[in-house]
């Protein structure tokens, strides 16, 4: 089964959770996702997720100079994002419980 299809919705919540911890940027998000085992989602996946979250107004973006020189995008969560994350978590818990029972896990 194609892992990316299953990940689509979950990834949005995972990225939102990472942004919720502290103001963060692209490289940090990629590293954190890789450390959590999501190491094959970089290609064309992370930036659309960030774009979608920003469009929904769940996160906001600020541009500032990085220590290495170029302009870096820093992401932080918004109030709407905090509410959405809470809802995501509850929904995820509910769905996985149902799925676990059905899949006999």
């Amino acid at each position: 089964m194609d892992e990316s299809q299953l990940l689509k919705g979950i990834l949005e919540a995972c990225v939102l959770q990472l942004v919720n911890r502290k103001e963060t940027y692209g490289y940090e998000i990629i590293t954190a996702l890789a450390e959590s085992g999501f190491d094959n989602i970089i290609e064309g996946t992370l930036y659309p997720v960030l774009g979608r979250l920003e469009k929904k107004n769940y996160i906001q973006c600020r541009k500032a100079k990085s220590p290495l020189g170029p302009i870096r995008k820093y992401y932080s969560i918004t109030l709407e994002g905090e509410v959405a994350l809470k809802e995501y978590k509850e929904l995820y818990k509910e769905i996985t419980q149902k799925a676990n029972t059905l899949l006999e896990l």
């Binding site: 490289y27 970089i42 064309g44 170029p70 302009i71 870096r72």
Partner: protein, 349 residues
């Protein structure tokens, strides 16, 4: 120039595989710069990722993945079109209108008091509403006609240009105050209001169709049917090869160095991108010049009208551009696909 546009300076610090990856992505993303410029912002992000990976001695694939083309597609999809960026886009587009506006004002100065007086504000509102929808509509119509004729590319382009020319003549005739042209304007069968309504109806229908299409393919954008060029394939590549052939001949004749196909195409697109930037600068200079002259000649009434004219233009155009930003993204994806094809074909050869 925006702060993000200085990414090249920092990219010089990249080495080895990081530098190679940067060059590849820079080439690919230049194809999405076009009229609207999000290149600096995206490339800054890429350079930052690569510099950090280099510093921490992590491989390129750990930050960009193994497929750079997929990474670029993701970046384009993730690009948010902000109001500020839409204003830049608007500035670029409007420079032609300002020339038209100056032309109308010139008519006013040369033939004062001739014919019925029409306020500049009315002209501003009218052109604001009509300009962009008209262009979209004409592109669509031209493509459909081109398809009917059976030949795309050149014929399609000429039809579009022809239609645009006719439309602009109609627009100018509606307002011009030069006596000879005023007589000609009587020959135009449509009244201004009718024309306005027709164009608006057409535009609404067209955007409905576009939105429907965008919604059905939200995650999986089909590259094949982009920007009215339904078969985005070999024909476009062949067309480019022909232009390249002409370029080769010219350069050889002048005994100048000939670039290979890929470098030539990359250079050409970079030039377009630079042209877009200078276009905006040119527009700003025109506006400031106009304001300066009208203030110096104490024509305050005219200056006030012009400011309102610009304000109205910005509000309407930015709203329209926000509305069709999905269409823009498709255009960039199409450019990216073309670049991938060029590189692939050159490797095969």
């Amino acid at each position: 120039m925006k702060r993000e546009d200085f990414y090249e300076e920092y990219a010089n610090n990249l080495e080895g595989e990081y530098k190679a990856a940067y060059k590849k992505i820079d080439g690919m993303l230049h194809f999405m710069s076009g009229e609207f410029n999000s290149l600096g912002s995206n490339m800054s992000e890429v350079v930052d990722l690569l510099l950090t990976a280099q510093k921490e001695e992590k491989p390129v694939s750990s930050v960009l993945g193994d497929d750079l083309y997929a990474f670029c597609c993701g970046m384009i999809n993730g690009t948010k079109f902000s109001i500020k960026e839409c204003v830049i886009q608007y500035l670029f587009r409007l420079r032609f209108l300002v020339i038209g506006f100056l032309f109308l004002s010139f008519g006013d100065l040369v033939f004062p008091g001739e014919g019925e007086e029409i306020s500049i504000i009315v002209v501003g509102i009218y052109i604001s509403i009509v300009y962009l929808p008209l262009e979209c509509l004409l592109s669509f119509l031209a493509f459909k006609l081109g398809k009917y004729v059976g030949e795309k590319g050149k014929i399609c382009f000429y039809i579009k240009m022809g239609l645009q020319l006719v439309a602009w003549v109609v627009l100018v005739l509606q307002f011009t105050e030069i006596p000879v042209l005023m007589q000609l304007s009587d020959l135009v069968p449509l009244e201004m209001d009718t024309l306005l309504l027709t164009v608006l109806c057409g535009f609404i229908e067209w955007t409905k169709y576009q939105r429907k299409k965008a919604a059905s393919e939200e995650e999986d954008i089909k590259l094949a049917d982009l920007v009215f060029t339904e078969d985005f394939d070999e024909s476009l590549y062949d067309e480019l090869q022909k232009v390249y052939g002409k370029y080769q001949k010219k350069r050889t004749k002048r005994k100048k160095e000939v670039l290979d196909f890929v470098s030539w195409d990359e250079k050409k697109l970079k030039q377009f991108s630079i042209g877009d930037k200078w276009g905006s600068v040119f527009y700003c200079v025109l506006v400031l010049g106009f304001l300066g002259v009208s203030i110096c000649t104490m024509e305050f009434e005219s200056t006030f009208d012009f400011i309102i004219f610009l304000g109205l233009q910005i509000v309407t155009q930015v709203l329209i551009w926000r509305f069709i930003s999905n269409f823009q993204k498709r255009l960039y994806m199409a450019r990216l696909k073309l670049h991938k094809k060029i590189v692939e074909m050159s490797i095969e050869e």
